[in-house]
């Protein structure tokens, strides 16, 4: 049976590869009993959302706030 540390590892690997059936079952079993690891899993998913949002380069919010202010931008080559 998985402990929380092993669970956290599987949750992370689940973001990088398809888990085997056995892995998925033991993960599911542990998560059904452990609120902390359920929260962890949700946080890992949020982290992925954060990074994908981040890479879309929509960081500076609100967007294009004051175009005029950028006129003086030092070295647009």
């Amino acid at each position: 049976m998985l402990n929380c540390e092993e669970t956290s590892r599987l949750v992370s690997e689940g973001l990088d590869r398809d888990l085997s059936l056995a892995e998925r079952l033991s993960l599911k079993f542990h998560l059904s009993m452990c609120a902390a690891c359920r929260n962890l899993k949700r946080q890992m998913n949020i982290l992925r959302q954060v990074t994908s949002f981040y890479t879309q380069a929509d960081l500076e919010l609100p967007k294009n706030p004051k175009k005029g202010d950028l006129d003086a931008d030092e070295d647009v080559r």
């Binding site: 690997e13 902390a36 946080q43």
Partner: protein, 203 residues
């Protein structure tokens, strides 16, 4: 393309439009600097991305597509530089942060210490709208050990699969998995401490 007879001219005009450049350049520079932790290399990468984009500007009729394209090129440049670096410090590759331990998070039986149990995070969508959140996220990324942040960037920002990372870095799959796991655990802990978990402490 058929509905736009002269996409080339339009794309070129856009790229040469300094207002448009100054609009996306800071984002690109910030992104590149974060990935590379080196402002000179970041400058170079951004510059090369612009040059690369100019060559192909013909095929783009609108800003959004052009921006995506310029960023795609930038990501390639960054991946190149990261790969090159990774080769250079292969000797460092088998360093501490592969084994590192989670003693501060888990007890000997591998269960969460009471004080480190993950709690509920509030609404992430609303966090995304706040500049301060992104500052904290930047800071958290920068606090990761160097190798963790590089591998994490290759996986999550550049979008390489773990197999591709293995090939590029000559790390084993297990090592890549361990490093990604550590990076994610570190980031979530940092975000928890500085943003999501700030409102309340778990009993």
């Amino acid at each position: 393309m058929t509905d736009n007879p002269q996409p080339g001219a339009k794309g070129q005009t856009l790229l040469q439009d300094s207002a448009y450049l100054s609009e996306i350049r800071p984002d690109m520079l910030k992104f590149a600097t974060l990935q590379l932790s080196d402002s000179h290399q970041a400058e170079d990468a951004v510059q090369e991305a612009f040059i690369g984009a100019l060559k192909n500007a013909d095929s783009f009729a609108n800003k959004a597509a052009l921006k995506t394209w310029v960023f795609a090129i930038l990501k390639y440049k960054i991946a190149d530089i990261l790969r090159f670096r990774q080769k250079q410090d292969e000797h460092l590759v088998k360093s501490d942060d592969e084994e590192g331990n989670f003693d501060d998070l888990f007890n000997q039986r591998g269960h969460w210490h009471k004080q480190s149990r993950p709690g509920k995070w509030g609404d992430p969508e609303s966090a995304f709208q706040q500049g301060q959140f992104w500052q904290i996220f930047d800071a958290c990324l920068n606090h990761l050990p160097d190798k963790q942040s590089r591998i994490f960037a290759m996986r999550e920002f550049i979008g390489l699969s773990s197999e591709e990372i293995c090939k590029e870095t000559e790390l084993s799959t297990t090592n890549v998995n361990v490093i990604l796991h550590r990076a994610r655990m570190g980031l979530r802990q940092c975000l928890d401490k500085n943003w999501f978990g700030k409102a309340e402490t778990l009993c």
